[in-house]
Assembly symmetry: C2
Homo-oligomer: 554 residues x 2
């Protein structure tokens, strides 16, 4: 992008947007505001104020510096949605280092690839995630120290990780003063890896500027302020929890963290949301579907009339959206985004001048779209030649996105340059259309990913693995709608004629188990004589998805 | 400020924060949102949508470029709070040029100084401000073209300005497409001149980045969103109308402009506020005092229970704040700021955890402070040696401010370097204190300025002028509380003994008329034998202010 020079300003433009500023200023201006976390028992919570958590962050910064973390270093983190993870966000960023987000749901194969690609010198892990850290211990290089977050002293913990430091001891051994330096706002603070369409996870390294501006604009677009209470369901190892923890610091909102939560904790989570008077949340549609099921069973349903739920599904489930509204008063808002976009790109609110113009049913139809672009983000819908298609609610094209919190490249990923246009747009590989009122609607995904329970699975990787089986002639994997997981992968496999009698579904699963996590393995593997193909002979996944679209519907 | 390098991010950090983006994206995502302006008749309003105003802005950009405006050029503007002024904000910034804010309330002496210091090549003036433009015509250099904003064609207007272009003709003659370039975010978009303590107005040149970030954070701190309706009372030639017009574009709020309003239009303004369902406004305390007087007289008082009024007075008038609350339901919020700070630095809201803790009376006491610092702004209160004083609600020091929307220097102003610290703070020359909860309270002003009706008067300049009178031995000018104008200047003058019989107050006023505007001349000039002095022999303005503090009280 060519940048035009103008007349020099007198503003303090060298003052850098630093992530650390958000908690530093929260500790000052919203010192008594709370961060609340659900404890593993799911029964109790722990609370800490911004002022106190900032003290601990300063201790932690001293501790990390003491064991050798320098500006530009990477620190891997394996942790849930916890206060300690929140502390690590800021302490690592404040030092000018980079927090490598380690997704414990990845296979050891992929997770070790991520670590070796990013090269952290230290890994911090929650005690409950020790098995994950240990599973990659022999596969990774360059990690010289481990820090364990535990209730008890780490010397009481048996592990093959070494050398090991104890998180709480590090904090208590260090002083709560730290003379923060100003960090270049273009320096990375988070390294997030996204599943790619071909081969390996790709690194998206958010700059301080990126994360700061995204939090500011999100607060504006979603009307989150000092009276808000936000609970964070997106994993803190996923796109920096969609920026919500930083947003809470920025606006002075109460931050509620569900800890190491799972779908089975739904009652405890609902109780937490009611007690903490939560007004805003976001997360995977899967999760909110399960929550709604729980709410349906309750005799006394929670009053969520002040709650906004932000979610993003390829096909927004209108029944769920209506269900929340009818049973609890909550509003479910659709949005569009990706790891590469930090993630927020759009917001689906009814524009003021449409309020009186649309009928109730028309409003629901509108709500099932993905919303209008938020200020600061450029969006284009282009055809195959790169020309913009009309915004008429029916012309479909690929969604291109550009802006201060959109990726400009992938980290050290030769061959991925074609995912970015010359004028700075990221190619989403999602197909969509814009209506006359500038509401975006996703229609299909050209990237071959399956999104199951909010987590991505690469269908291309899975196909490649299945093809390794000597009996397999052809294989394709597609994502199919699933009422609980939003999508599940299913495989269509053509086995050589001579091997048909001796090849089982379990044989296919066995080969997948080497590189895929357990939850990623498809329940449904269908042996067929032929896979539908397009005119140029490629697998026609669109046709496959259409054929099997009801396979998980009851 | 030393900036620490880190690890390179993959974000699109070259994407510049450009002011133009705000209206471009407002035209896209909030296309039907309205901008409403009160017409000179005070009876009617005119309306335009974001989409349509953006079309006109593109025509205007083509027109300005056509008559020679290039990136880095300055364009002087003399206009009220109008849609045309709003168009000029964006068209000039979009071209990478700088809008020089021309304050028509300045004397020809000061206004011509501002123009000659900033050197615009073009001046755009509202027809109603032609007398001002003409009054400086022979005093300014380098202005090669004039554009007149008028209802009729400018050829019908008699003026000595030449050559003259007609604003509406320029717009209708140009096409509504413009291929905006990306402007360096550190380039200036507004040049605002502030009255200095010594001598001449000083130039504060806001960068795009500065204005953009200020608008974003203000939207967050004041909870302004797409459902808001904001009316702009700060003059659009003052600190870019406190950033409110840009803020409205950013969040998608309705923007209401009062035109060339005055205190005598109060009924029409109140009607406008009710009709347009205004939820947020800001401005000088003087103005809101006059508004409250009008409301008191009304039989049917407006319901302002959704209205927040943001204001900033050295001594916040609690009676007025309570008056609004009781009579209309509106909340008056204090803030602190200056032209050098864009202006917002603090906001006075009751922090959530104080809501239940404080009694009603304690809350009013708190509301009469100036609020806590907004996120992104560093504040220090320092003693004379530059050391921070405790935040105990009683230790007084000078207020220093730093951040992305705080000035880092004055434009071309040798000798003003001492107004900035080495670590990037601007010295406000205001004295204040912070309490334990981080609420700022202004206590005194060390800068010798008088703020009358929201406009600044330099007491130092006035003293210098008075001292030119051959009969005057000593003179000091201080600002004294005034129930209508917040402050008025008053002069204490020591006349030489031999001239006492022959020197009148009117003689003093006559000498001031040469360089001061009519409204700046003090009504009260007191002849004394001696002016109180400090231990080092300086005029002790604190003592003078104390002695005369009740002079305008009835």
């Amino acid at each position: 992008m060519k940048i035009l020079k103008g007349f020099p300003a007198t503003s303090n433009d060298d003052y850098q947007l630093n992530l650390l500023t958000l908690i530093k200023h929260a500790a000052r201006s919203f010192g008594e505001q709370e961060i609340v976390q659900l404890l593993p028992s799911s029964e109790e919570v722990t609370r800490i104020t911004n002022k106190k958590v900032y003290q601990r962050i300063k201790c932690l910064a001293n501790a990390l510096e003491g064991i050798g973390v320098k500006p530009g270093d990477k620190v891997g983190v394996l942790d849930w949605n916890t206060i300690t993870h929140f502390e690590l966000y800021y302490a690592i960023a404040g030092l000018g280092a980079v927090l490598l987000q380690m997704n414990p749901r990845l296979s050891a194969h992929d997770l070790s690839y991520v670590v070796n690609h990013s090269k952290p010198g230290i890994i911090v892990t929650a005690e409950s995630l020790l098995p994950v850290a240990e599973s990659i211990y022999d596969l990774i290089e360059g990690v010289e120290r481990y820090i364990i977050i535990a209730d008890k002293d780490s010397s009481a913990i048996e592990t093959k990780l070494t050398p090991v430091y104890d998180y709480e001891t590090l904090i208590s051994d260090n002083k709560p003063e730290y003379d923060w330096q100003m960090i270049d706002e273009k320096a990375a603070c988070f390294a997030c890896y996204t599943s790619g369409t071909t081969g390996r996870p790709k690194g998206v390294y958010y700059s301080h500027r990126n994360s700061y501006l995204h939090s500011m604009q999100t607060a504006v677009s979603y009307n989150i302020g000092d009276k808000s209470s936000v609970i964070v369901f997106p994993a803190m190892f996923h796109a920096a929890a969609w920026g919500v923890p930083m947003l809470a610091s920025l606006v002075g909102a109460k931050l509620v963290l569900p800890g190491a939560y799972s779908l089975t904790d739904m009652n405890a989570i609902l109780k937490l949301m009611v007690n903490e008077e939560v007004t805003f949340t976001c997360g995977a549609t899967t999760f909110f579907l399960a929550m709604l099921e729980e709410i349906r069973k309750m005799k006394e349903r929670p009053d969520f009339s002040n709650l906004t739920i932000l979610s993003g599904a390829t096909e927004p489930p209108l029944a769920m959206m209506k269900g929340y509204h009818e049973l609890t008063g909550a509003i479910v808002i659709q949005s569009y985004g990706a790891t590469e976009t930090t993630p927020f790109v759009t917001v689906n609110k009814i524009k003021t001048w449409l309020e009186d113009k649309l009928t109730l049913e028309e409003k629901w139809t509108l709500r099932a779209k993905h919303g209008y672009p938020i200020t600061g983000v450029d969006i284009k819908i282009v055809d195959e030649t790169g020309v913009e298609v009309p915004h008429d609610g029916k012309s479909v094209g690929e969604i291109l996105v550009r802006g201060p919190w959109i990726a400009g490249k992938y980290y050290n990923s030769p061959g991925s340059e074609d995912r970015f246009t010359e004028d700075g747009y990221w190619r989403s590989e999602d197909m969509g259309m814009m209506d006359e009122e500038e509401y975006l609607k996703l229609v299909d995904r050209i990237k071959d990913l399956v999104k199951s329970g909010g987590e991505w699975i690469s269908s291309v990787d899975m196909e490649n693995e299945i093809m390794r089986h000597p009996a397999v002639l052809e294989a394709t994997v597609v994502g199919v709608f699933h009422p609980k997981w939003d999508e599940r992968p299913m495989a269509l496999v053509v086995v050589r004629e001579e091997d048909r009698a001796t090849t089982s579904e379990e044989d296919i699963r066995n080969i997948l188990r080497k590189t895929f996590a357990k939850w990623q393995i498809p329940e449904t593997i269908v042996f067929v004589d032929e896979i539908p193909k397009t005119s140029v002979g490629k697998f026609d996944k669109k046709v496959v998805r259409e054929q099997y679209k009801d396979i998980f519907r009851t």
